[in-house]
């Protein structure tokens, strides 16, 4: 290599080292998500200081759990260049089947086993997705649209359509079990439920898999270009099965937590909220075309949507406006990310 060419490359490397906000945002798009979130919180807190009360923050935390688990699953699939819209059906299927199973056949099943079985059941359904995506060689969007109908159809046709209002006691108890509990100024008891812990644990686990294992690097490699990844020796089958299995497990876990938290099992629940979750992941900076994104960004995207859901009311905006706001944010953020990428 001639001196000048090397210098030129060193120069280019030096340039990227010098800090610039635009460059930072291009590499870490979740910065924008974070700034949006902060801006919204500041505005809302100014308009209505009640927002900063612990009870509001705990509500937000509680509301983030199910969506956050779903979003982690969507993100890991998006990172590998796929997309999944069947996760809500997986969650509905596992939560309702488990509730029926515990209520009618195994009333004394410990809650740990219930959660474990729901998670494994979700993983099994997810693996079906993964095998179908790999062997049919059909885009994962189509496969999971198909399996969403299949899982939901099976649930409603063969397992039941009855809304279960009184849960088995151990499930209800798990939903109420406190992690932190204190009395607010007005004397009301405020509880951060124990199940909230599941989200940070799952987020850490997902981060660890993606950044500290070969599987994680393989997922991003496949998201970058599946043909090249396979040529380099990454097994697409293993990656597909793991991905969808993992996302399915998260969906199963989210489903059972949803039931315990709401103290009722509605077989018609959850399905239909997929777009909301995908929106959160995309707002968190993951590209819909795959290969990019971070766990932190995904969590920020979830928080952004949850905060929007809960605070608009607090500043006097009708809840029906929530969709308008979320829609504009998605368009704005997406347009911003795209112009940043083009500038390069």
């Amino acid at each position: 290599m001639s001196v000048s060419r090397t210098d030129e490359l060193h120069g280019a490397a030096g340039q990227s080292r010098s800090f610039s906000f635009g460059e930072h945002v291009r590499r870490r798009p979740e910065t924008i998500t974070f700034l949006l979130l902060v801006a919204i919180c500041v505005i809302v807190a100014v308009v209505n200081p009640a927002f900063l009360q612990p009870s509001t923050l705990i509500d937000i935390g509680r509301a983030s759990v199910v969506m956050g688990l779903f979003a982690l699953g969507v993100f890991i699939i998006l990172a590998a260049g796929g997309i999944d819209v069947s996760f809500t059906a997986i969650a509905a299927f596992t939560m309702y089947s488990m509730t029926v199973l515990v209520q009618s056949y195994l009333p004394n099943l410990p809650i740990v086993v219930v959660i474990l079985m729901a998670t494994l059941g979700g993983a099994a359904l997810g693996i079906i997705n993964g095998l179908l995506v790999h062997h049919l060689k059909v885009p994962s969007l189509i496969v999971t649209i198909g399996t969403q109908y299949l899982f939901r159809g099976f649930l409603l046709s063969f397992i039941g359509t009855v809304w279960i209002m009184s849960l088995p006691p151990q499930m209800g108890a798990f939903g109420r079990m406190p992690l932190v509990q204190f009395e607010s100024a007005n004397g009301a008891l405020i509880t951060l439920p124990f199940y909230f812990l599941v989200l940070p644990i799952a987020a850490f686990g997902t981060w660890w898999i993606l950044n500290r294992t070969l599987m994680g690097r393989a997922i991003f490699a496949v998201g970058g270009n599946a043909d090249i990844a396979s040529r380099l020796g990454y097994s697409l089958r293993t990656v597909h099965v793991f991905l969808f299995g993992y996302a399915g497990a998260l969906a199963g876990l989210a489903g059972i937590i949803h039931v315990c938290a709401n103290r009722q099992a509605n077989p018609f629940d959850l399905v239909g909220t997929e777009i909301n979750v995908i929106a959160a992941v995309v707002l968190g900076g993951a590209r819909i075309t795959g290969g990019t994104g971070t766990v932190l960004g995904t969590l920020l995207g979830v928080l952004l949507i949850v905060v929007l859901n809960s605070v608009l009311v607090m500043v006097g905006i009708p809840s029906t406006w929530q969709r308008l706001v979320v829609g504009s944010f998605i368009l704005l953020a997406a347009a911003f990310f795209v112009t940043r990428q083009r500038k390069k």
Binding site: M1, S16, R212, T213, L214, R217, A229, Y234, S235, T238
Partner: protein, 517 residues
């Protein structure tokens, strides 16, 4: 004695292919290939596009399984290899598309595969970041690339093409390779980078690593030396030290017909001025002024960073100019977008035809009529497919496409034929000016010949052509005049009939303060 020598050689061979056959559906791509590769030797796999070169390297690297035959690797016999088996045996491939993962960092692209191979392809393993960094630093240094943290963490899609090529080479030498296969490694490299690559190859050979090149650039093959292996129609037609063959002999072996490396340009430009560019400024172009006459072929060359690529994109609206005047037929025109350029009669055959020019999964027919669909449509917007097919058939005939099946996806064609489809598409709207950017990059000798003849015929018909290229023989054979660019400016203008390659190289390396004799 001879038999003994033969066995001795066999046991020492790195890789041996025995009677390899490969069928793709009804296509017999390889018809019994026998090939023995020895450690520390350089091989040049030569042949026209579609002769089976790519298939054979994909069999060696485990991407394809042969239909029949035997692969002997390190004394062990296989009927086919997996990518992991091939990598574990030390066979590294630098593919023509580089096979880099665009969303990962330089360090990951260079050094992640070492860990994958060590884990035998199993993914339930921890990822060793320290080792990744060490391996990447070692390999990048060996390939002459920077090794600082900023470069290691650069996302590959942010790198210029030439650096990506070197990163791909760094990956190949990151592990203890025994055979490095390079599929057209020098197409996007400048002369200086090629010199660097040749040094890397010499070092590899001194460490007893065999190198197999697939290339169309014969001059480089002679510089590197070693063995020539010539393929034609899925068969090996010649093998031996490359010094024993002349360029003309190799070209004839590859094509099966005689090809003269004569000057294609026989016509003369008219006296009517077609294009006048005055003080054009764009990113990387610092005030270019020149003119092209009707029927004239203007060559433009320079190093990769000379601004030649940016000039081509500014002229055609791909990356519009920021200042200056472009006049066509004496009238100043604005070319702010490719659509506007097309409207003004300026056509563009881009350098990266796969990414910028062709719809790979669409048929030849659909690619050929892409520019004229609106003209083919009636008032209801329904496209007259019959007329479109007739036009596509005529264009394919003019471009001497080697298939009659217009429904074949363009992605299934060889590089030479793809380029013919792309040029054919422009013929459908008969532009006044056609800008060709690297028209024969990655194209074989036979297709080059056809493309050059078409270029000459277009000039003969009165079209003005600008060829932006780093293939100097190509410019010398085809152009009337050649402009040499450096640092965004013209540093020399030469008459192509009198100029020599050395003269052009000197001009390319000249800075603007020096003047050329």
């Amino acid at each position: 004695m001879a038999a003994q020598a033969h066995t001795a050689q066999q046991s020492a061979a790195l890789l041996e292919l025995r009677n390899i056959q490969k069928w793709f559906g009804g296509v017999h791509a390889l018809r019994g290939i026998d090939l023995t590769l020895q450690p520390g030797e350089a091989y040049h796999l030569l042949g026209e596009n579609g002769c089976g070169k790519s298939t054979v390297i994909k069999i060696m690297s485990g991407a394809h399984a042969p239909t029949s035959g035997e692969i002997v690797l390190g004394g062990e016999s296989f009927s086919s290899l997996t990518p992991i088996q091939s990598l574990a045996a030390g066979i590294e491939t630098v593919y023509q598309d580089l096979s880099l993962l665009p969303n990962l960092t330089v360090a990951e692209n260079v050094a992640l595969n070492e860990q994958l191979v060590n884990a035998n392809g199993r993914l339930a393993r921890l990822f060793d970041r320290k080792r990744l960094r060490e391996t990447a630093v070692r390999a990048l240094a060996a390939a002459g690339l920077p090794t600082d943290g900023a470069f290691l963490n650069t996302i590959v899609s942010d790198l210029p093409l030439a650096s990506r090529q070197l990163v791909a080479i760094a990956r190949a030498i990151a592990t203890r390779a025994k055979l490095v296969i390079m599929d057209e490694p020098t197409t996007s490299l400048t002369r200086r980078e090629v010199d660097n690559l040749i040094r890397v190859v010499e070092r590899l050979r001194s460490e007893n690593v065999a190198v197999l090149f697939v290339t169309h650039k014969l001059d480089e093959c002679y510089r590197i030396g070693g063995h020539a292996v010539v393929f034609r129609d899925g068969q090996c037609v010649a093998q031996g030290p490359i010094a024993n063959y002349s360029k003309k002999e190799l070209a004839e072996l590859m094509t099966g017909r005689s090809i003269d490396a004569q000057r294609y340009r026989t016509g003369k430009p008219s006296d009517v001025e077609l294009l006048k560019v005055d003080r054009l400024v764009a990113d990387g172009v610092r005030g270019m002024s020149f003119a092209v006459k009707k029927g004239e072929i203007l060559g433009i060359t320079g190093l990769a960073d000379s601004g030649r690529n940016e000039l081509a994109m500014a002229l055609t609206g791909v990356a519009p100019a920021t200042a200056g005047v472009v006049a066509l037929d004496g009238k100043a025109v604005s070319v702010r977008s490719p659509a506007e350029a097309i409207e003004r009669g300026i056509g563009y055959v881009p350098e990266d035809r796969l990414a910028e020019g062709l719809f790979l999964d669409k048929s030849i027919f659909e690619n050929e009529i892409a520019l004229i669909v609106s003209r083919l449509a009636n008032s209801l917007g329904v496209v007259d497919r019959e007329e479109g097919r007739a036009i596509a058939a005529r264009l394919s005939e003019e471009m001497r496409l080697n298939t009659r099946n217009l429904d074949l996806p363009v992605g299934a064609l060889s590089g030479g034929n793809q380029q013919r489809v792309l040029i054919g598409r422009w013929l459908s709207i008969a532009p006044k000016l056609l800008v060709l950017h690297g028209p024969t990059v990655g194209v074989d000798v036979g297709s080059k010949d056809t493309i050059y003849r078409v270029i000459q015929a277009l000039a003969e018909a009165g079209m003005g052509l600008v060829i932006v290229s780093d293939d100097l023989p190509e410019l010398l054979q085809n152009a009337d005049r050649i402009l040499v660019m450096n640092s965004g400016r013209v540093v020399a203008e030469v008459d192509a009939e009198q100029a020599t390659e050395d003269q052009l190289y000197k001009a390319m390396l000249t800075t603007t303060t020096e003047t050329l004799q």
